[in-house]
């Protein structure tokens, strides 16, 4: 049910969704949702993970069939049974996880499904290339049609997605969390493109949970929570706190209260570390830093600048190609994951579902992942001590407030936030010396975010050395005692925790290394 009725009398609506309901067994994704977008505006659809925004847009694009409700496009009722219908109506969707085929060229990806014909069944690549070049010139989207899509940086891949959508004649573009994978610079470029598109007569729906960006780019905002629309806002007249409160339903703590840090002995000493990425390209080009017990060192940087590889080398799941890592006074440069874990290094991986958990294992089994041969849980590394495992699991579930009917429930059945709590519980539960936390609150609801933030600070207060890697600048600035900015495989600067965003943003994109720390 809407919080306030919107006044659309006399206004041209690009799309009007009324009374949309969609239920999966056990979950109501959309509950009588009314959602309307005016022609020529940028309309932001905002809400937490699981609020129903993606489902609503998937219904609009025909990927999902709604249980009830109607959709009116440009004043005419529409039946959208699949993407083909949506495309025919001029609706185009740029997905959060790109719908691009890495081994195809950009041109092949863009023309897929709408290939220009030349002869019996053959496609005319030259004509496609020409059409694409016209489009990219018109909207200022520089793009090479013959590049192999998988080789492109993420920002350019996204551009290919946008051109793909325009190639099919879209007038209404839906962008699902578009800035999550972009550098600040790329985000600025994207916003420029969006404004150009609006000038060109397009309408844009912008799904996001990044409130600062929503405030910057949108004209109006619709807020969803737990499947319902809870508010319509005009961007000019609102602020971050108001939106966040609507999203969660209560006052939200945007900053963590923490005491000043008391750093102790050096836990990790990293010297001139080099390593390669999965593709064989050098990802770390000589990283050096010290991590002390009792402090949180935040690694700021846009994804793809080596942070993932850094964490993996420190955790033992990736081999270094040069340099040294010392844990205390022990050289662990070539230690593998098991040895690192046994030495007291905890690792919260950035991919919780694919790496940090085994979804079909029970919560109890997941809580000993990596420690199935430890003496606490096994008899000489051979037989499992089932009772010890059960007790351990019960203790952690209670301590970390993991919402689950039982410790035997498969991890798959839990919400994202609770799944993350399993990982956090497991890695913190053994009181590690060092904790590597990579994107620890990605895709997690605000309640769990607050909990994890508090626990990270608590670990630090107990003397653990915490390395925090996050693409969310807010998280870095609110939790870290010191910040290291990574760019293209190097640490370009160490900054104090209260450095302002603008300076950090500049450093993250490779600028500003001439200036000294502290000053802007």
């Amino acid at each position: 049910m809407s919080a306030e009725p919107t006044d659309n009398v006399g206004v041209n609506l690009a799309v009007d969704m009324r009374g949309i309901t969609k239920a999966w067994p056990g979950v109501v994704a959309n509950d009588h949702v009314d959602f309307s977008v005016r022609a020529g505006e940028i309309h932001a659809l905002v809400g937490e993970n699981g609020a129903g925004k993606s489902t609503l847009m998937n219904i609009l694009y025909g990927l999902v069939r709604s249980d009830s409700g109607e959709i009116i496009v440009n004043g005419k009722p529409a039946r959208i049974n699949g993407p083909r219908d949506a495309i025919a109506l001029g609706i185009g969707m740029v997905h959060q996880h790109f719908m691009l085929i890495p081994v195809f060229t950009v041109g092949e990806n863009i023309m897929l499904g709408r290939e220009p014909v030349a002869g019996p069944g053959f496609y005319d690549y030259t004509r496609a290339r020409k059409d694409i070049e016209e489009l990219t010139k018109k909207y200022g989207l520089r793009l090479d049609p013959d590049a192999r899509t998988g080789d492109l940086p993420v920002g350019l891949q996204q551009r290919a997605e946008i051109v793909k959508v325009l190639y099919r004649g879209a007038n209404l573009l839906v962008l699902d969390e578009p800035t999550g994978v972009l550098t600040p610079q790329e985000t600025v470029e994207l916003f420029g493109i969006l404004r150009d598109l609006i000038k060109g007569g397009k309408t844009i729906i912008f799904i996001s949970h990044k409130l600062k960006e929503v405030l910057e780019i949108s004209d109006r905002i619709t807020v969803m929570r737990r499947g319902k629309v809870v508010g319509h806002l005009t961007t000019k007249k609102t602020n971050e706190q108001e939106i966040a409160t609507m999203m969660v339903g209560r006052a939200v703590l945007l900053r963590v209260d923490k005491k000043p840090a008391k750093p102790g002995a050096v836990a990790f000493r990293v010297e001139n570390l080099t390593a390669n990425s999965d593709r064989g390209v050098q990802a770390l080009r000589g990283i050096s830093f010290e991590l002390r017990q009792g402090e949180i060192l935040g690694i700021a940087g846009v994804e793809g600048n080596g942070q993932s590889e850094l964490v993996e080398v420190l955790a033992g799941t990736r081999r270094a190609t040069g340099g040294h890592v010392l844990l205390g006074d022990r050289d662990v440069t070539v230690a593998n994951a098991r040895e690192e874990r046994d030495a007291g290094v905890g690792h919260i991986p950035e991919d919780r579902r694919g790496v940090g958990l085994i979804l079909n294992y029970s919560i109890a089994d997941n809580l000993i992942l990596g420690r199935e041969r430890a003496s606490a849980f096994s008899w000489h590394g051979l037989l499992l001590r089932l009772d010890a495992i059960r007790n351990w699991a019960k203790r952690l579930v209670k301590e970390f407030d993991i919402r689950t009917p039982s410790i035997e429930t498969p991890a798959r059945a839990l919400s994202g936030g609770n799944q993350q709590k399993i990982i956090v519980a497991r890695e913190m539960g053994t009181r590690p010396r060092v904790l590597l936390a990579a994107q620890p609150t990605r895709g997690v609801d605000i309640g769990a975010i607050e909990f994890i933030h508090r626990r990270l600070v608590a670990e630090r207060d107990e003397g653990t050395a915490v390395l925090l890697v996050s693409a969310e600048l807010d998280e870095i600035r609110s939790l870290s005692d010191r910040i290291a900015v990574m760019y293209e495989g190097r640490i370009v600067s160490f900054e104090p925790a209260d450095t302002d965003e603008a300076r950090l943003g500049l450093l993250m994109t490779g600028g500003g290394t001439g200036a000294k720390t502290g000053a802007a």
Partner: protein, 406 residues
């Protein structure tokens, strides 16, 4: 799963009953379609199935076959099938398809025969363990090769194990048709293994003793059955109660998570294949030591390893399931011979039934039904199959989930 069902009995019972539904449904489906097939081609399904029943379970014997003998034959058939079924089920858990159980079985039989003939003068307490161990080693090597190939260069184990099956089949022919193991002056049969290598049968080999109307020596049920049951227990303990079993299942579920946990995926793959090859090789050794006492041309057409695939799948990879499925397929195998004799319908109908069972297990028709009628009590989300076979089995074996939180 971490622990066995606790004191909540009704729920455990429900889970067991639910676990039976899919396999039972598959068997019924297969028999119905099989009957249709027989009827369409002008045969009499009732006659065919009563032949199967007679040969398999000693029931409804129309032509004066001895029930006890039929049951004994069935037991002899399913004894090696149990271990071969384990040899297929264990790698499934690691995400591997061991289609090579047949080759590993034959390798074990060859090793057993070789040792049993070469050292035929050694006494039983030494020779018997030797031949059985030899069989395990032979099978382990036969499975280890594809395991190593998979772990190092990523060669698909389906193709490599199948190739080794063919190699094993030709190897046996080579060995006993004019080859090194052939019985002197014999033809396509090997020398017999020493007396010390023979597994004792349950009934004394005394033909003056008459049991169930036939001389005792006719019944071939042998102590290998006990070894098979023990092997089944070892399998269950290994998979659910050991750290290695945890790691094997982890690799089957998610190689990336396993790597994160510090588990060496290549090492686990190789170890898993070695162990399962040992199980299959043991089955082959027991077949020689307990039943035939030498390699014969019967082994040219052996299908134990292939039946084992159906056993592992029908049994949903659990120890109890494998036991029951082995009994079923052992009975079908024994029944096929009687059916061919009495009803004139080719015993290859049994193969058809087997395939139909596999289809319905693979398709898991029940899962599709549940998706349409969620009131069956399950969430309809399909698991992302990183290791398809493992997902297939854990899907059916996992505890019924409670209401999922939003």
């Amino acid at each position: 799963m971490g622990s066995r069902p606790g004191p909540r009995l009704p729920r455990a019972l429900r889970r067991v009953a639910g676990g039976f539904a899919v396999p039972l449904g598959s068997v019924i489906f297969a028999f119905i379609v099989g009957a249709l097939l027989v009827a369409i081609t002008g045969g009499d399904p009732l006659q065919a199935y009563s032949g199967l029943l007679c040969g398999g379970l000693g029931i409804a014997c129309a032509n004066g076959e001895n029930s006890a003998l039929q049951i004994s034959t069935t037991i002899v058939y399913f004894t090696p099938l149990i271990m071969a079924g384990v040899a297929v089920a264990l790698p499934f858990r690691a995400g591997l398809f061991n289609i090579g159980a047949e080759g590993q079985f034959l390798a074990g039989a060859v090793a057993c025969t070789f040792i049993g003939v070469k050292f035929s003068n050694l006494p039983a307490p030494i020779l018997l363990p030797m031949v059985l161990l030899g069989g395990m080693v032979g099978g382990a090597i036969w499975a280890g090769i594809p395991g190593v190939l998979k772990a190092t260069v990523g060669a698909h184990e389906v193709v490599t194990t199948i190739m080794l099956n063919y190699v094993a089949q030709w190897l046996i022919r080579y060995l006993i048709v004019g080859g090194p193991l052939q019985l002197p002056h014999g033809f396509s049969v090997s020398s017999p293994i020493g007396a010390g290598a023979r597994l004792p049968s349950f009934l004394p080999n005394d033909n003056s003793l008459v049991i169930f109307g036939l001389p005792a020596g006719v019944y071939r049920v042998h102590t290998g059955l006990l070894i098979a049951i023990a092997a089944l227990a070892v399998f269950a303990i290994l998979l659910w109660r050991t750290s290695l079993g945890y790691e094997i299942r982890a690799v089957g579920q998610s190689q990336r998570a396993a790597r994160y946990a510090g588990i060496s995926v290549p090492r686990t793959i190789i170890v898993t294949m070695l162990i399962s090859g040992a199980f299959a090789g043991l089955a082959g050794a027991i077949q020689i030591a307990g039943v035939d006492h030498n390699l014969t041309d019967k082994y040219f057409n052996d299908t134990t390893g292939f039946d084992a695939i159906a056993v592992a799948l029908l049994g949903l990879g659990s120890a109890v399931g494998i036991l029951l499925a082995s009994i079923l397929f052992g009975a079908l195998h024994a029944g096929g011979a009687v059916m061919q004799q009495d009803a004139g319908i080719s015993s290859s109908l049994v193969q058809v039934l087997q395939a139909l069972i596999l289809f319905s297990i693979a398709a898991n028709f029940l899962r599709v039904l549940r998706a349409r009628f969620p009131s069956f009590g399950r969430r309809p989300s399909a698991p992302a199959p990183e290791a398809p076979a493992a997902a297939l089995m854990t899907e059916a074996a996992k505890a019924p989930p409670e209401e999922s939180p939003p």
